[in-house]
């Protein structure tokens, strides 16, 4: 190998290592820390959600809609529309969840009824403990 070729190769290797050693920390710096391991429960008084109404609460930093459905009791679902992230609202008259942004609708099991959402709303664990609701 010629001396000049060797030096050019060496420069390319050092250059690539230098860029990579800066790019990786930069990417890690910009990426937010993962919140996958958070597992905090949210407690809510039953009286705060009368029959036929809903309330949005933050559980582990994620919005959850808690609905008190006539005859069926309490349901907790992620309130983030699976289309583009707007918060769904409970329409008590039709007993459905509606996204105000692009008109997607879901039933109270979280299944998509109409519109562009690609996936159902995810269910969130909910336990009724005497006068309290424990969500998450």
């Amino acid at each position: 190998m010629r001396r000049r070729t060797f030096l050019q190769s060496l420069l390319a290797v050092f250059g690539a290592v230098s860029v990579a050693s800066f790019a990786y920390p930069l990417l890690r710096f910009l990426a937010p820390p993962s919140d996958a391991n958070r597992d905090r429960k949210f407690t809510l008084a039953k009286k705060d959600i009368p029959i036929g109404t809903s309330r949005v609460v933050l559980v582990n930093d994620k919005p959850v809609i808690v609905i008190n459905e006539q005859g069926k009791g309490y349901i907790a679902l992620s309130s983030v529309c699976t289309h583009l992230g707007c918060l769904v609202g409970y329409e008590a008259a039709k007993n459905i969840l509606v996204c105000p942004c692009h008109g997607g609708t879901y039933d109270l099991e979280g299944n998509v009824l109409s519109g562009p959402p690609p996936r159902p709303l995810s269910k969130v664990p909910l336990k009724v403990e005497s006068e309290q609701l424990v969500i998450g």
């Binding site: 910009l30 990426a31 937010p32 919140d35 949005v56 933050l58 930093d61 994620k62 919005p63 983030v80 289309h83 583009l84 992230g85 707007c86 918060l87 769904v88 609202g89 996204c99 105000p100 942004c101 692009h102 008109g103 562009p116 690609p118």
Partner: protein, 366 residues
């Protein structure tokens, strides 16, 4: 010219060659004699950018980029800071007018066929400048921290999730978490005031340098004198029989710049709430998406497309393909004829796209 001015001029002359600089850039720089008002739109855009820079710096003095203070600081700019309302209105109305000016500039360049060889790079740099201008609009939209800005940003930052594998990561990278929070606000602020401006200045320098280096193109409507030679070597387009840039074109540009100001102040004076719908005056509420959430007018067409195309991946991929076609159009349209009046198919497609855009915007606004 009085003695002091003469001395300053001489001082500059012997150091930087002022006379030659003025001659080569203004009086001896010839532009095509059939140049028209549409050739001034690039300069109008430059005026618009300067207004955004100056008013943006003024707003920076009082704006607080924090989720707890952003909305209030903007309200104080509007109500308590002397003439704060003026600078904010100029910034908001200016951003909308600027996007309109850039859009009209690109449409006229398209209609005059001036994207054709050897000006492909000029078109691409202009297209990228338009994308950056839209990024300025998008990143600045969140900063007042209103219901409208919060939810429009939520929708926009969800768009990458349509893509498998990297989508969620990109969305989290933009937001700084799983949802739009104060971290998103500081990220967007940093992008708006420190990442986009140098990128923009770089592209603008490239764009203007290319225009000067390649030479202005005459319109196809007056006479068809564009290059017909085989493109085997670089040859600057000169216009020895044209008019001097100063005063001929520069005065036209100044006139259009003043017209830009007139339109801006007409909107500020007689329709001050035109760009401020009700949700733009309500502080952001992460627990409630407003009933009528819609983006700024320039994002209405893509927004409505997302609404009517049932598959999210398909809808967003289609928009990315359309954007790529727009930016790389000079390489797709290899037809030699510049005059769109002699190209019925292209004319038909152009009119159809314009009508589709207007319908989508009107539909998205309802």
């Amino acid at each position: 010219m009085n003695g002091t001015a003469k001395r300053i001029r001489n001082w500059l002359e012997v150091r930087v060659g002022l006379d030659e600089l003025i001659r080569s850039n203004l009086t001896d720089y010839r532009v095509p004699s059939n140049i028209n008002l549409f050739h001034t739109l690039g300069a109008v855009a430059v005026v618009g950018y300067l207004i955004q820079v100056i008013t943006g710096i003024c707003l920076l003095i009082y704006y607080i980029p924090h989720a707890d203070h952003a909305f209030r600081s903007v309200q104080e700019i509007m109500t308590r800071v002397p003439y704060g309302w003026l600078f904010r209105q100029m910034h908001v109305v200016g951003s909308n007018l600027l996007i309109a000016a850039v859009f009209v500039h690109m449409v006229t360049i398209f209609l005059m066929g001036n994207y054709k060889r050897p000006r492909e790079l000029t078109w691409i740099s202009g297209g990228l400048l338009m994308v950056i201008t839209l990024c300025f609009g998008f990143s600045g939209y969140l900063l007042p921290w209103t219901q409208l800005s919060y939810w429009a940003t939520t929708v926009a930052t969800s768009i990458p999730t349509a893509f498998p594998v990297v989508g969620d990561f990109v969305s989290r990278l933009l937001r700084g978490g799983s949802s739009v929070t104060g971290i998103t606000l500081t990220r967007f602020f940093a992008v708006h005031v420190s990442l986009l401006p140098p990128l923009f200045v770089f592209l603008m320098v490239v764009h203007i340098a290319l225009i000067r280096r390649i030479g202005l193109s005459a319109t196809p409507f007056g006479r068809s004198d564009e290059e017909k030679r085989p493109l085997t070597e670089f040859r600057k387009k000169l216009h020895p029989d044209g008019y001097p840039y100063y005063p001929y074109l520069l005065q036209k540009q100044a006139l259009m710049g003043i017209l830009y100001f007139v339109v801006m102040f007409l909107v500020i004076s007689f329709a001050p709430t035109f760009f401020f719908p009700e949700e733009a005056t309500v502080p952001a509420d992460a627990f409630k998406t407003p009933e009528s959430i819609r983006p700024e007018w320039y994002f209405l067409a893509p927004y409505q497309m997302l609404k009517i195309i049932p598959n999210k991946f398909l809808g967003i991929s289609l928009q990315i393909i359309l954007l790529a076609v727009f930016i790389f159009w000079p390489f797709l349209d290899t037809h030699k004829e510049k005059n769109i009046f002699k190209r019925p198919v292209l004319r038909g497609v152009f009119i159809a796209i314009m009508i589709a855009m207007v319908i989508l915007m009107w539909w998205g606004r309802r």
